[in-house]
């Protein structure tokens, strides 16, 4: 580890989508956990090449949706059957049918909130700064270059061995990024 300033990670540059796909497979097989790939466009099969498992965002939207449905039912029951009972059109004070539409809407609303907030939570967003943004070459990730970054925090990380691994994947340019 650097003594003066902490390093963020090793960045490797690639010129084609195929190269970075194969590099990602090698890094995955080497057992790294804290690493990522940055490409100008989505690459088919990258999830598999990186060994990314199913996203956990679904659980957040499921919880949000379930909360929305239950709170909708409780709200209508509380207002119409408990707090201020009113007979409307000869209908029962409470029935699972007529509150269904607001419940449905609340399911969608809170499900969407769950998905967005869960995504931000899992991605640790919002974030005002990222060390990679200081790297001048990294700007090419939005144009025609492909980048693979392995973070120094990875338990398998070692500057010499990891650099060798990245060299073996055929990267043209490898650089240590400062934090």
């Amino acid at each position: 580890m650097n003594s003066s300033s902490k390093s963020y990670g090793l960045i490797a540059e690639f010129t084609t989508a195929a190269d970075i796909l194969h590099a990602a497979q090698k890094v995955r097989d080497a057992g790294f956990s804290r690493w990522d790939v940055f490409t100008p466009f989505p690459i088919h099969g990258m999830d598999g090449a990186m060994g990314i498992r199913n996203s956990r965002v679904g659980w957040f939207s499921f919880l949000g949706g379930a909360t929305g449905y239950t709170s909708g039912m409780l709200m209508v029951w509380y207002m119409n059957a408990y707090d201020y009972p009113i007979v409307i059109g000869g209908k029962p004070m409470f029935s699972p049918f007529y509150p269904f539409i607001p419940c449905f809407e609340l399911t969608i609303l809170l499900g969407a909130f769950g998905a967005v907030l869960g995504m931000m939570f899992l991605n640790r967003l919002p974030r005002l700064h990222h060390p990679l943004l200081k790297n001048r070459r990294f700007a090419q990730a939005t144009h025609d270059k492909f980048f693979l970054v392995i973070e120094c925090d990875d338990p398998k990380y070692s500057e010499i061995v990891t650099r060798k691994l990245l060299e073996a994947t055929g990267s043209q340019h490898i650089e240590l990024v400062e934090d």
């Binding site: 598999g48 679904g58 059109g89 049918f97 539409i101």
Partner: protein, 426 residues
């Protein structure tokens, strides 16, 4: 992609001992149907109608999947297209032949046929559709339309297997475009004339969509199951990857929600308006054990498949999806039974006639399975010259990184565009 596929190198199953099943089903079905028809002709008519509407939903749903493939110019559904064409082609002549007992027993099945329109306002209001000529003309119209578009869709598809001509794709798109409109009209007409007419006083504008939602739902489940089997046998292995199964599973999920949405909306509108001329349909279906069947539908038709299909990875699990596909078939049958049977048995499910229901189901299933397997063996298992075949297989043609100077001038000529003012130079 192939690493996620179900078949994943498993050896083909030995299906030879299953080849006798359709024959056995037909044999058992004929015996049970004959006994049933002799014991109680009206009950036989209802049981036959139930089985007929069940298989009709599968056949029409498959036709819908084929037409959607052409209308959206899809690439993922190339692998399931051919056997869906075979399923759709069961509509004529086979479903038409199986309709004959209904046509003959119609005066026994449909109470409105023995009523006088002068005495019955509900019947008079539906003149001339609800007359005997109207009934039989509607059937002729439905089977005529189905015969035309299903046969055209398979004819041009098989033609393309031979020559690979683009003309076939254009023809298929043409027949899908008018076919989808005819499909919507005839499916609604069939659902009204053959199912809703059991209680002719009733009206619901959602009824056609209700039948459509269940049809596509059960067709998707069947397509998934057949695709899994053909994949395992190595017949369509190259074009069925994880993506294709995922899309099929997603559509199954979508139609689970869609059919629940339609069922609920129909119920909700009638429940909320609370008018006797509409509510009697549901009041009848809340009597006796039909109430329990209604609950089975809420949980089994919607909640179980909904929760089961929520997760992304279960849509790719063979062992999970096969039982679910069978469950979806069962629920579609229970749903149709909930629509048809309470008219004959208002006090509850007639368990003493279950054997006759099963007999009709077995006889029709055996006949249709025999025809389907015959068609499947006769033709290639997937459209071998479909223009989107390579895409469906996950193969993308190599994109040239740079073009030679000559090629650039040639492409200019090919497109018929004016050459650049700056000439060939860059």
């Amino acid at each position: 992609m192939s690493t996620l596929s179900h078949s994943g190198g498993l050896p083909p199953l030995d299906l030879s001992r299953w080849s006798k099943v359709p024959g056995l089903l037909i044999g058992a079905g004929v015996v049970l149907c004959l006994i049933g028809a002799l014991l109680n002709l009206k009950q036989f008519g209802y049981s036959w109608l139930l089985a007929f509407m069940f298989y009709l939903s599968l056949v029409l749903g498959s036709a819908f999947l084929v037409m959607m493939h052409h209308l959206f110019d899809a690439s993922w559904s190339v692998g399931i297209r051919r056997f869906c064409e075979h399923l759709a082609c069961l509509a004529f002549p086979w479903m038409a032949i199986l309709f004959l007992p209904i046509a003959l027993l119609a005066p026994k099945i449909y109470p409105w046929m023995s009523l006088d329109p002068a005495q019955d306002h509900d019947l008079a209001a539906k003149w001339p559709l609800f007359t005997k000529p109207g009934f039989y003309l509607a059937a002729v119209l439905c089977f005529g339309a189905w015969a035309l578009f299903t046969s055209r869709l398979r004819y041009w598809s098989l033609k393309q297997d031979e020559d690979g001509a683009a003309r076939c794709t254009y023809k298929l798109r043409f027949h899908s475009s008018w076919g989808i409109a005819a499909f919507a009209f005839t499916l609604t007409l069939a659902a009204i004339m053959w199912m809703k007419a059991l209680q002719h006083q009733w009206f619901s504008t959602m009824y056609g969509v209700y039948y459509f939602a269940g049809s596509v739902w059960v067709a998707l489940a069947t397509a998934y199951a057949i695709a899994m089997i053909l994949d395992r046998q190595g017949l369509i292995r190259d074009i069925m990857g994880a993506e294709q199964y995922y899309f099929l599973g997603s559509l199954m999920f979508a139609f689970t929600v869609f059919s629940a949405y339609i069922h609920f909306s129909q119920y909700f509108v009638i429940w909320n308006a609370n008018m006797p001329e509409e509510t009697f349909w549901y009041v009848l279906r809340e009597k006796g054990s039909w109430f329990a069947v209604g609950l089975v539908l809420i949980f089994g038709h919607f909640l179980v498949p909904f929760l089961a299909l929520l997760r992304i990875n279960v849509k790719l699990m063979f062992k999970f999806m096969l039982p679910l596909c069978a469950w979806i078939g069962l629920m579609q049958y229970v749903d149709l039974s909930f629509n048809i049977m309470p008219v004959l048995h208002p006090n509850g499910v007639a368990l003493q006639w279950v054997w006759l229901d099963a007999g009709c189901l077995a006889l029709m299933g055996g006949v249709l399975a025999k025809v389907f397997v015959r068609d499947l063996n006769r033709h290639p298992a997937y459209p071998v010259k479909d223009p989107r075949l390579a895409e469906a297989m996950g193969l993308y043609p190599e994109v040239p990184k740079a073009m030679a100077e000559e090629e650039l001038t040639q492409t200019g000529k090919l497109s018929g565009a004016q050459p650049h003012s700056r000439g060939g130079g860059r």
